[in-house]
């Protein structure tokens, strides 16, 4: 197995989850309903936990320890898609992002749980159930709000339109795409995207939302290889503010 290819895959998985978990944690205490505040925080914690699991696999492959990797890199060293670094906006945007992201994430986890690369398969199998709840949560909300008031539908539709180019950016191909597919690590981004489209379409069809023609949308690529929006570096600076007081200290 090409170790570089595996690392490349692990970094994008881990970075996506770290950054989205961080973003979602910003809602804690500010949610629209007490109960939803709690649920959203749990999912944010899960995401951070998932990123830690994947950074730990990277450490086993010789990379630095998870705290160092997560808290000391700069934006141009991050492999997350631009979707996850965008500011939270209002709750409609956070929900739509959660819906678009987690419906892709569950497919990755399903595929990776069958991976020929056993360490990933083990982690994906173990954590799949958590992502399943995330998807159930996202889909339930989109179905409920997407069939409710004009106000809610308009908000969701506008967030959907705004988020889609970035969501398509999640499927930016790896430099090692074919190697990963050939080695049976997972079926690759094209396959994830095709299945994702099926699943989000099935949910959106149950609502009053409309999925724009994806062919007409230019995906926001670049995130997988360090090209980010202006929002990522400030996020990282904030995240590492205390850690960087003394990176060698035990906090």
């Amino acid at each position: 197995m090409n170790e570089q290819a595996i690392k490349d895959l692990l970094y994008k998985l881990a970075d996506d989850q770290l950054i989205l978990g961080h973003r979602n944690s910003e809602w804690t205490g500010f949610g629209p309903i007490l109960e939803e505040d709690i649920a959203f925080s749990s999912m944010a914690q899960d995401k951070i936990g998932h990123s830690l699991a994947f950074y730990t696999l990277l450490q086993e492959l010789g990379e630095a320890e998870p705290d160092t990797v997560a808290f000391t890199r700069n934006a141009n060293q991050f492999h997350n898609s631009q979707l996850v670094e965008l500011p939270n906006g209002e709750y409609d945007f956070s929900l739509i992002r959660h819906f678009l992201y987690d419906n892709a994430e569950i497919i990755r986890f399903e595929m990776l749980s069958q991976s020929s690369y056993e360490p990933i398969a083990k982690v994906a199998t173990k954590l799949k159930g958590e992502v399943k709840y995330h998807v159930l949560h996202a889909n339930t909300w989109i179905k409920n709000l997407g069939t409710s008031t004009e106000e809610a539908i308009l908000r969701l539709q506008s967030s959907l339109n705004e988020a889609l180019p970035y969501a398509l950016g999640m499927f930016e191909k790896s430099k090692f795409e074919q190697e990963l597919i050939d080695a049976g690590v997972y079926a690759g981004e094209e396959a994830v995207k095709a299945e994702w489209l099926k699943r989000i379409t099935a949910v959106i069809e149950k609502t009053d939302l409309k999925l724009p023609d994806l062919e007409s949308i230019k995906p926001k690529f670049g995130g997988r290889y360090g090209e980010h929006t202006e929002h990522l570096q400030p996020l990282l600076d904030e995240m590492a503010e205390v850690f960087k007081i003394d990176p060698t200290a035990e906090w």
Binding site: E26, F30, I33, L34, E35, E36, S41, K128, E130, L136
Partner: protein, 212 residues
């Protein structure tokens, strides 16, 4: 705002400045109706009452109850029932059996065919209602009578809840994997935090202790 927020999240909220008029009272149901949640601690255990959630419908109530009531400690399933659909007896004294005090009235409404009802017992005031079992009946009252015959003999029952089975949303068998990793989330358990070693080491290195 007299104080620039120390919380960068609050700064990003762009709070309105200066005096703001009092908030209008929240409309009724702004926080939605209530649902009662029951959890199962382990396979085969009786479902036990954990508490209410406010939600717009039972699907959302399930999403809420799952995180509010089962984000810690082992869980294998959750039941949700709309509060409105649960009927209850009066509360007896501790060590009494309310079934013995029941005056059974003729039910106002009956279904044509018997249907299943879930019965929950409270054994002692201050504790939680526990699922006693299921009975077939054509009304809440008949269900209560059935419950008295089937489960009423076993010790004190301070209070009984009765709810039609079809009004209970039960998590599915295939949903169980949503809870499998809960016991591993040690970071939210007290047991994960052990600092005696650090304290002992500190004290040893700093003898004689800074006596106060």
């Amino acid at each position: 705002m007299s104080l620039k927020s120390l919380d960068p999240r609050v700064t990003r909220l762009n709070l309105p400045e200066g005096e703001v008029p009092a908030m209008e009272p929240k409309p009724e149901l702004d926080q939605f109706e209530t649902y009662e949640a029951f959890h199962q601690k382990k396979e085969g255990a009786a479902y036990t009452y954990v508490g209410p959630v406010h939600a717009p419908n039972e699907d959302v109530a399930f999403l809420f109850a799952k995180e509010q009531y089962s984000r810690r400690f082992a869980c294998t399933g959750i039941w949700i029932a709309r509060t409105e659909n649960i009927q209850l007896t009066l509360y007896g004294n501790d060590s009494e059996n309310v079934y013995d005090m029941m005056r059974v009235e003729e039910p106002a409404e009956r279904s044509e065919q018997p249907e299943p009802y879930e019965i929950f017992h409270l054994k002692k005031r201050g504790k939680a209602h526990v699922h006693a079992g299921r009975v077939m009946a054509t009304s809440y009252l008949e269900a209560l009578q059935e419950a008295k015959q089937q489960f009423g003999e076993k010790g004190p029952v301070v209070n009984v809840w009765v709810v039609r089975s079809k009004d209970v949303l039960q998590s599915a068998e295939e949903d169980k994997d949503m809870w499998t990793t809960i016991p591993e989330k040690k970071y939210r358990e007290a047991i994960a935090y052990k600092v005696m070693d650090k304290i002992t080491k500190y004290k040893e290195e700093n003898k004689p202790t800074t006596a106060q």
